[in-house]
Structures are given as C-alpha cells and as structure tokens.
C-alpha cells in the first residue's frame, strides 16, 4: 500500500467488545478514524491503544508526512512493547539468551519499517513473526559459518525488503521442526470449525467451554476436548516421523 493510498483510506474499527480470539488482557478496538493528511491530529495514547496494528502504522505514516515526529512516540511504544515479549520468548526457543534481544529488536524494526513503506505482506502480526523467523534463520546461519561473531558481509548479499538475507538453508532446531509438524497437523484439519477449536482453545487463550460457546451451539466442551486430543495425537505422530494419518 502506498503512502497516498493510506492517506485516502478511511479506517473503520470494531466496536469495543473484545474480538473472538482475544484474551482478557489484550488490546480492544473501537470506532475510530485516522484524520486525513491535511489535518493530522496527534492522538492521545488511550485513543491510539484502541487502534489495530495496521491503523497504528497508518497513523505513524501520517505523523511523519505531516512532520509531527514527536507524535510517533506513543504509536511506536504500543507496537514495540505490545509484541516485545512474544518476540523475545519465541527467539528464546531457538537462540542463546545473549542473542535474543538483538534479534527481536531487528525483527520489530524491520517489520515496522517495511509495513511503513507498504512492503509488508498481509496482517502485521503475521508479517512480524515471519520477519522474526527470517532473522533467527539468518542469525543461526551466520553463527554456523562464523561462530560467536557478527555476520560476514558476504552473508548479506541478495535482495530482501529488509536488511540481511533470506535464509539459504532451512535452519535447524527442535522448535522449528516441531513448528513445521504442528502447522502440518493444523493444515490437515479439513473442517473449519475444528480449526477454530485449535485457534481458540489449543493455541488460544480460551477454556474448552468458552471455545465451544464461541464456535456454536452444537460444539460442546466434550467435542472441543476430543478435537484437541486428536490434534495433539497427530502432532506427536508427525514429530515422531509418522506419516500414517497424512497418507491415509
């Protein structure tokens, strides 16, 4: 999306009730619009906190275009702090502690900058985590080639929307293999309502009863447990190298 397109865009937000996938401490959306470029208005933090990620990026773009750089502080704080712990803890699954914050910082900076330029792909949160995975892969690859030092210049040739390179090789690590198996188990679920169970209950913040209630009348708590249990079994089967369910 170009800056001009963003300027013209009127953004509608959701009502103040939490979205279906949100946990109790998460951000809520409410009706809001971002002013046009000509009449950019700095908004207080409490209003910005109701904005979606993409709206915050739009707001940042408007603030910069209007030369109101100080107005960017709150929006950046919301985005960076808002995802910091998830980035750091994901990085901890694959990297030594000494590298975790550097990689998380690079990831969030790259993701916001590329979203700012309209170079991101899809939802900001997904893009952010995609960038994090790339940064982790870069980092592991660089360490493999030259342990305990920074990346060699030659490792950063190539074309990418953000600094650094795409990983040339799949990076190693139990967490990545496990993630692949989990995603595969998820993709194998054909029924959308069953996927919702995984989203809301297994990988989401809700209890089995809450997840069942959000999905629909005939999705009982027992059904939710059954679906989760099947998913868990298939995930483990894939982790152990099994192909039976995928090929049946």
């Amino acid at each position: 999306m170009t800056s001009c397109a963003a300027s013209r865009r009127i953004i509608r937000c959701f009502e103040s009730t939490p979205g279906p996938d949100r946990g109790p401490r998460q951000v809520r959306d409410r009706s809001a619009t971002i002013p046009s470029l000509a009449d950019f208005q700095e908004l207080p933090e409490h209003r910005l906190s109701a904005f979606s990620d993409d709206q915050l990026v739009d707001y940042l773009r408007h603030a910069r275009d209007a030369g109101r750089h100080a107005a960017m502080e709150a929006a950046l704080a919301l985005l960076v702090y808002g995802y910091w712990d998830t980035l750091v803890n994901r990085a901890r699954l694959k990297l030594p502690e000494s590298d975790v914050e550097d990689v998380a910082g690079e990831a969030v900076a790259s993701a916001i900058a590329s979203a700012f330029d309209g170079r991101s792909v899809g939802e900001f949160r997904s893009w952010l985590h995609t960038i994090l995975s790339r940064r982790i892969a870069d980092h592991l690859e660089a360490r493999k080639r030259k342990p305990s030092t920074t990346a060699l210049p030659s490792e950063h040739e190539g074309d990418e929307a953000v600094w650094g390179t795409e990983p040339a090789l799949e990076f190693e690590g139990d967490a990545l293999h496990a993630r692949d198996c989990l995603e595969r188990a998820y993709r194998e679920i054909a029924e959308p309502r069953h996927r919702r169970v995984i989203d809301l209950y297994v990988l989401g913040p809700h209890s089995a009863a809450e997840a069942g209630g959000r999905i629909g009348a005939d999705m009982t708590e027992a059904n939710v447990h059954q679906i989760a249990s099947r998913f868990s079994r298939r995930f483990r089967e894939l982790l152990e190298g099994g192909e039976t369910a995928a090929e049946r």
């Binding site: 800056s3 996938d21 946990g23 109790p24 401490r25 998460q26 951000v27 933090e45 910069r64 275009d65 209007a66 030369g67 750089h69 960017m72 502080e73 950046l76 704080a77 985005l79 960076v80 702090y81 808002g82 995802y83 910091w84 712990d85 998830t86 803890n89 699954l93 550097d102 910082g105 690079e106 969030v108 900076a109 790259s110 916001i112 900058a113 590329s114 700012f116 330029d117 985590h129 030092t149 920074t150 990346a151 060699l152 210049p153 950063h156 990418e160 600094w163 139990d174 967490a175 496990a178 993630r179 198996c181 989990l182 995603e183 990988l203 913040p205 995930f235 483990r236 982790l239 152990e240």
Partner: protein, 206 residues
C-alpha cells in the same frame, strides 16, 4: 492430561497474566519428543498472541524502549534504519564509537579530520544524515569495521523510504537508549555546498 498439556496450560497462564514467560524452565521439565512438542506449541501460541496492552512503567524499564526510540529516529529521520542498526553493529563488534570513528577516518584517508568524521557518523546513528548522500566508500569502510556488507548497509539506510520534513539538526530525543552509553553530540554545523571538502563529499555527495 499429559505432561505436555499440563505444562503448556501453565505456560499460557503465565503469559496471559503478564509474568515472565520464558519458555526455558517449562521445557527443562521435559525431554525428547515431549520437549519438542511443548516447544512447538509454545512457538505457535506466541506467534498467534495478540498485541499486549502498553504498560508505561514496564515499557520504560524494557529493552523495547530503546528499540522504539531508535525506530522513532529512523521513521522521522533521513537515514532509514541506521539508528536501529548502526549502534547494534557497533556494540556487537565491541568497538567504542571513538575507536570506530578513528578507524573510519583512517580508512577514508581523513585522519586529520577525525572530528568531522565523528560528526557525520554521529548524524548517521541519529538518522539525521540523508542515506542517499553517503558514498559507497564510507559504507564499505564502515562495513569492514563492524562486519556488515556495504549493500546491506545501503538497503538499511533506505528503509523506510524518506518522507516528510526531516528533523531539525538539533532535534533531541529525550528518552535515553538502554545499553549504549550516551555520547556527546559531536555533529559540526554542515558546511555550505560551495565550501565542501573531501569529507563533506564522502558523507553528503553520494
């Protein structure tokens, strides 16, 4: 309930309550496939977790504050992501800024103008020097000092695309960066174009 399910439920609870959700202690209680399984579940859970509400007190003490500050310089400045990248590279290379500047000046053949090189390098870290004006020679020399490619430095300087009025030369960013010690603003007033010398051309002439 399996050990994996139990530990995963505990992990989600800790994360949702805003506690230190380091996966390490949870993973340490398992081994083999079960450990991998828990790692995969935590990874997928975190990747789906929504944005957390801003807690100003926690933010102030968090490394996230330094990242946000340098991003503010990046987005508001003329040097792309250099305010984020350059201090990190310098820290990773374990080079003090004064030493980096001395070596940069030497590599550029400008030992006698070290102070001027220091000023320009400071502007690069602050996002106040337009990336397009910085020559390949500077980026090549800098890249060799910090172990980073010239082209990668160039690309970082171009993200995001420049736009909007640049910050004033004396712009002050009030929140101190965490980690790196603040250093004095050594930026000299830029010389008028007609009085440019070789160092000006290297840092501003493209």
């Amino acid at each position: 309930m399996s050990d994996v399910d139990r530990l995963f439920a505990q992990y989600k609870e800790v994360h949702r309550s805003g506690g230190d959700a380091d996966p390490g202690p949870f993973l340490a209680r398992l081994a083999g496939v079960e450990r991998d399984q828990l790692a995969g579940l935590i990874d997928a859970y975190l990747a789906r977790a929504p944005r957390r509400e801003l807690d100003r007190d926690a933010f102030r003490d968090s490394p996230a504050a330094g990242v946000a500050e340098s991003l503010e310089r990046s987005l508001g400045g003329a040097g792309g992501l250099w305010p984020v990248l350059l201090p990190r590279l310098r820290n990773q290379a374990r080079v003090r800024r004064a030493d980096l500047v001395a070596e940069l000046a030497a590599r550029l053949g400008a030992q006698s103008q070290q102070e001027k090189v220091a000023g320009y390098y400071h502007q690069m870290e602050q996002g106040r020097l337009p990336a397009a004006g910085v020559s390949d020679a500077v980026l090549e020399a800098l890249g060799r000092i910090v172990g980073y490619g010239r082209e990668a430095l160039r690309r970082a300087g171009e993200l995001p695309a420049p736009g909007g009025p640049p910050p004033a030369a004396g712009a002050v960013f009030t929140r101190p960066a965490r980690g790196a010690a603040p250093e004095p603003d050594a930026a000299p007033p830029p010389a008028p174009a007609e009085e440019w010398d070789e160092v000006d051309r290297l840092f501003r002439g493209g």
